[in-house]
Subunit: 288 residues, 2 copies
């Protein structure tokens, strides 16, 4: 990057989108280069700890709840009986932590390629790792694409793809071959949910993801959106794909939702997340 940096701030620049977001530091408390990526941990002035991977913000103590709650609960509360869950990526364990809040879940496997992400999360984001010792949890360190490919057919109810952006190690997670393997690994009624970037900045990618998922055999795809201040544009999305046709029916049990102890997710924001603005709805609508 040729531009001067903001001294005393961590800045993620998205050059091709022309936007940058910065958090005031704090200090650089840890940095290492793993076989997969560069990981840095900073303390910030107002967002707690920040983990950055290859210069991109991954998770902050203060605002990760938006993302982790919205990656887990809309999907799990849209499946009639989410017993068997896999989280692909998600090494900070925040999504796994939300998944394990659901009493119906009998087994939740997290498949993260870079064990160092998890080890650093345990140290700097222990609140996200609070349920790693849950007997239903299993932490696998390996290739999520290969894991899904070798998963027994119909062995999963929900697959959550909680990855970095679709470049580098995560690129294969946004392709038809991976989606076809997910489809096979899911049982009837199964759901795939994947982080799908900013509806403002990455609408082309979202449209392509939906197309690839449908071309890979998923019966229906839906977008959900939510605030995520530390990610580019502050507005983020996830894409939910249904293995089998039919309406997506939310299980909105107010008492059960209250027990999740969430800060962004609730019955009202569950519905709100699926309310698409016209410029997005027009783009992701299924072609007739």
């Amino acid at each position: 990057m040729s531009a001067a940096e903001l001294q005393g701030w961590f800045t993620e620049k998205v050059e091709d989108k022309g936007v940058a977001f910065s958090l005031k530091l704090g200090e650089h408390v840890h940095g290492e280069t793993t076989p997969y990526q560069r990981i840095d941990i900073y303390s910030t002035a107002s967002f707690g700890y920040l983990m950055a991977i290859d210069g991109c913000t991954m998770v902050s103590s203060r605002d990760n709840f938006f993302y982790h709650e919205m990656m887990a609960h809309p999907a799990l509360n849209s499946h009639p009986a989410p017993r068997r869950v896999a989280v692909i990526g998600g090494g900070d364990c925040g999504t796994l932590n939300e998944v394990l809040k659901h009493p119906q879940v009998e087994r939740a496997v997290q498949i993260e390629i870079d064990e160092r992400v998890t080890r650093l999360a345990e140290r700097y984001f222990p609140e996200l790792c609070a349920r790693n010792g849950d007997p239903r949890a299993e932490l696998v360190f390996g290739d999520g694409i290969a894991w899904i490919k070798s998963a027994p057919p119909a062995s999963l109810d929900v697959i959550v793809v909680d990855s970095t952006d679709p470049v580098g190690p995560a690129e294969g997670l946004f392709g038809r071959r991976f989606y076809a393997d997910c489809l096979c690994a899911l049982d009837g009624g199964g759901l795939l949910v994947q982080q799908s970037e900013s509806p403002l900045l990455h609408l082309d990618l979202i449209v392509e993801m939906h197309r690839f998922m449908r071309e890979s055999g998923f019966a229906h795809t839906r977008l959900l959106h939510f605030p995520q201040p530390v990610y580019p544009s502050g507005w983020w999305s996830a894409t939910l794909a249904q293995k089998t046709p039919g309406p997506l029916t939310a299980r909105i049990d107010e008492a059960a939702i209250a027990k999740l102890q969430t800060r962004y997710y609730c019955a009202a924001t569950h519905g709100a997340a699926f309310a698409l603005p016209p410029f997005v709805a027009g783009a992701v609508a299924r072609p007739e």
Copy 2:
């Protein structure tokens, strides 16, 4: 500001919140200091033109639609017959433009303190000024606080306060005296809607605004929220105050809404905007 700037980028730093947002430039196409404030216009790499006031992003060509639509339509579609509307501030005319899309509106007065904001909007954001020549529109350049104070009682159906942050010239727009004057100027069933900053970064301010509005005699207050990428945190809100008690009933007429030709606002996002996450709902709930 002591930190080095990002060369070739416009950066708004919110030092006390520890966040900054930057847009890649483009060039500085205009700058002037008016009796009220510093105004700069930039061309950006991917957000069209940017107007900054006193170093804060006010409006970009690309993403102002979120804010302007959500300042106008939820309030106007919550009033049974919004005939007489005042916009306080809003000198870029984007909110006025959305207000004038409603055929029920008979008169819409914009009271902006700094005429230069409007003159520069006419030049760099002509799409926001497209309805300035509408015979129902009236552009007043003067003090919005004084204008509301001298407005005949019960002469307005909706007041939209589209101001800068609550410092400097806009500070008086966030106080009990102004709210009491708004209450008096509103007719029975009247609605006040005011931009109320970021639910993540400024929740204390939001709580105080709601309290001040209720202490000034408004029967009920509600928060609505929406994405706004160029504002701090990318997540913004407006506060809606009802003069008279009773439920707030949305006029959701799909055909009428389609005619608004909006990009973010629609029947679905109208409802979604009022869906509050638990951490916000808990803070703004009316004390018993």
